[in-house]
């Protein structure tokens, strides 16, 4: 095999005739997408071999906050008194996940989200029927529901009836770990699924007729070939840890201090799929969070850019704020607060300057003369009437900034926490089939999770990656198991 590998350094191997292991479905990667793919394939009666490159598994899913974006009227939403339905959920996602998100995936997911809630529950993933009034981040409590996007902020609150959809497994601060523990526990008792740890897929095996029929796997210094009789599912994460790939496709993300992703998010799954003929899409897209709140009260401040201008309603999801601050304002932003609004931000941004007047603060920040003064004058005038005609921040966060001194929290990309991960990946259909540049399936090849371009084409809300990873992971595993070869 290693001879073959040397000859086939392009990520695909041809002419393999002997196998060291076999399964109906081979899954690459044990994050939420791979785990759900394996469980769904096993439920269809397939023998599954799950390859995980690390020793433990869990991937970025286990490290995450654990929010799963679910809606359309889940039992938790209902118990907490929120009305939602699939059409309403789809309206929000179509507006918030663009421009030009995958409408078919969004509509399908919105339609099946309640069913997916029940499936996750059936895997012993516990969601408490209690609402937490924070936003964006996972609750610090074991509450099960939170606003995890911009649902109740402009313009989305006018596009769809606001409903919280961030569903959080009940373990404060470690909900992603709990989610993966429960899924992995299910796998452990599924006789059809065998997990090989420390096993890294290095190439896909292609048959004469172009079908993907297995993978070359590296483990403990040796390479062996595993056969996938029905299909192979790539669920190996995104590429935020592959700096060269980020530089080429999504260079703005290089400026973000925090990379959200385990070591395995090095793009290997995407590159394997591309080598096999799969088309990648939206490789430029990323989730970019600027967690300038909590505390929630900091939303009463105003964010200004390098020209001293406001640029967004500050009550938007901080992933939307981070995206706009980085991509539209070149990563230059300050949160202006007054003495009454100022609190220590959880993410620890430093105070860039303090001033006894807008003029002094503007000068200290090196902003153009008069710019911040004009911005504050206009904002305060509107805020004193409970209005924000420029960006439509909600009344609860509108307060004239008049209690001196004023301060500026440093939200520039060079100093603040901008946390990023990639959203682009292989193009797949609703069954997780990897498509080529002309939208034809690559036979035998499936993918899910951040190895694919999923529900969010660009705009993000917390919980979408665990949502499309787990849901379309299930679809991919079931479709692979159902392949007739």
């Amino acid at each position: 095999v290693s001879d073959v590998l040397r000859g086939g350094a392009s990520g695909v191997l041809r002419g393999v005739s002997s196998w060291q292991a076999e399964a109906d479905v081979v899954v690459v990667g044990l994050g939420c997408a791979g785990a759900c793919a394996a469980l769904a394939a096993a439920a269809r009666g397939a023998r599954v071999l799950l390859l995980e490159r690390s020793s433990a598994g869990g991937g970025t899913s286990a490290l995450s906050g654990g929010l799963v974006y679910l809606g359309g009227g889940t039992p938790v939403q209902k118990a907490c008194g929120f009305e939602d339905d699939p059409e309403n959920m789809a309206r929000y996602l179509l507006a918030a996940c663009g421009p030009a998100p995958d409408e078919a995936k969004i509509r399908h997911y919105a339609e099946h989200s309640v069913e997916h809630f029940h499936w996750l529950s059936s895997c012993d993933v516990p969601f408490r029927a209690s609402f937490h009034p924070g936003t964006g981040i996972e609750p610090p409590t074991d509450d099960g529901l939170i606003f995890s996007g911009s649902e109740n902020a402009y313009p989305f609150c006018e596009i769809a009836r606001p409903a919280p959809r961030g569903h959080c497994p009940a373990r404060p601060g470690a909900a992603g770990g709990l989610l993966m523990e429960r899924l992995i526990a299910r796998i452990a008792v599924a006789p059809e699924v065998r997990v090989e740890s420390d096993a890294r897929a290095e190439a896909l095996v292609v048959a004469e007729d172009g079908r993907i029929v297995g993978a070359a796997v590296r483990r403990a210094g040796e390479t062996f070939c595993v056969r996938a009789r029905r299909g192979l599912v790539l669920a190996a994460g995104g590429f935020i840890q592959n700096r060269a790939m980020v530089a080429r496709h999504a260079p703005a993300l290089l400026r973000c201090k925090i990379r959200i992703g385990c070591e395995g998010d090095d793009g290997s799954g995407i590159l394997l799929g591309m080598a096999a003929g799969g088309a990648a899409m939206r490789l430029d897209a990323g989730s970019i969070s600027l967690p300038f709140y909590p505390p929630e009260g900091l939303k009463r401040g105003i964010l200004v850019n390098g020209a001293g201008q406001r640029f967004i309603n500050e009550d938007a999801y901080y992933g939307r704020v981070g995206e706009q601050a980085l991509l539209r304002q070149d990563g230059r932003a300050f949160l202006i607060v007054d003495e009454a609004v100022h609190e220590r931000p959880m993410a620890g941004m430093e105070v860039a300057a303090v001033g006894e007047s807008a003029q002094e603060l503007e000068h200290e920040l090196g902003l153009p003369a008069g710019s911040l003064q004009a911005t504050l004058r206009l904002y305060n005038e509107h805020a004193s009437r409970g209005e924000d005609p420029l960006f439509h921040k909600r009344g609860a966060y509108l307060k004239p900034l008049v209690d001196m001194p004023l301060g500026a929290l440093d939200c520039t990309v060079d100093h603040a926490i901008y946390a990023a991960f990639t959203l682009g990946g292989l193009h797949t259909d609703l069954d997780g089939r990897v498509l080529d540049a002309a939208d034809r399936p690559v036979p035998g090849l499936f993918a899910a999770g951040r190895t694919t371009s999923g529900l969010a084409a660009q705009g993000y809300s917390s919980g979408l990656s665990l949502a499309d990873g787990s849901y379309f992971g299930r679809r991919a595993g079931a479709a692979a198991a159902a392949e007739v070869v």
Copy 2:
């Protein structure tokens, strides 16, 4: 062959054993990239077959304004009194063509741009040694040199010494046609080059060992296979005319009224390359022009967004203005002028509103109360001192807007001319070799022009496409001819 084609609908054909035509180098597309590739291959002694899908050839190059971005100290630059050198040119392009443009391509091109000027001149492309003081657009005269980017605008004027680099062939209003006439005339007298018109490449032929060895070509209702003994060059344009592809990869461009590109810019060259294993990059990128000038005097107005805020120095290249207006301001922009500044814009934007005061104009435009008033107050205050600390417009265009009435020219994407073409494409090296997802050449396959991602990764200046098309077209043709098979 049609049986083979039916079986190989994926854009590649395998198992072809008989050929209806042969050449050392096959070139797909007769725009500037294909023409220059053919001439360079012929100069290396190769027999060349050039396939053009239309009857006449010329492509988008012939329809274009004809500017070629050349610099580093060309004879025309020197005769017109402008100092430039390769390092200075590279500094501008690295700053203006990003984020994260291909540094190797930019440095190489800046180094060889004077040589390329002489090569084009040797093909009888005439550049008059006279400077036109306009900007952006090709001269309405037969002048040979013009500022065609943001070289003398902030921030670029502080990054590199401003020098005009838009070189225009001497035919007012039809310089692109002249350029292609001259190149095609060269081809007509090159005995090594045969042009097949009305011939469309439908698939690439792949040999057993993965090498690209030819193409399946459709002409007059029949399909035949042509063999490329040494190499095949894809020079088939971009994809602005493929609406599905634009929607998937660069959805913002769908909002632009004007598509710059001939019918052939349907992505077929890029898709053929991807089907053969080539990796595409920066498919999200596009050139987006908002020609709110000429007349140049309109730069004395100010552009404001939907919140009544300025967002750019109005003397920037209108391709930079269009990009920011669409991508950063959601396509909402108005050019505010006063009675003294107002002129009829060449691109015909309509007057959206008129007002006897800033307050009245703001109201008429539906801008937030007080917003435009604050913007004008601050701008006028600075402009009266000859300053623009917010966006650094040059003094020549700074004039307080105080001569009533005020007017707003409608620069919103729904009403004004936004003209777009795609910049993303196949990833190539300096010799035009098409690279796969792991940066390895696809053997036998080359590409140039807008079928590739070239000098401009995103930010654009006029003339860059004819520049990298013609220059890297030459490189691709020469490299293909030099292949030892």
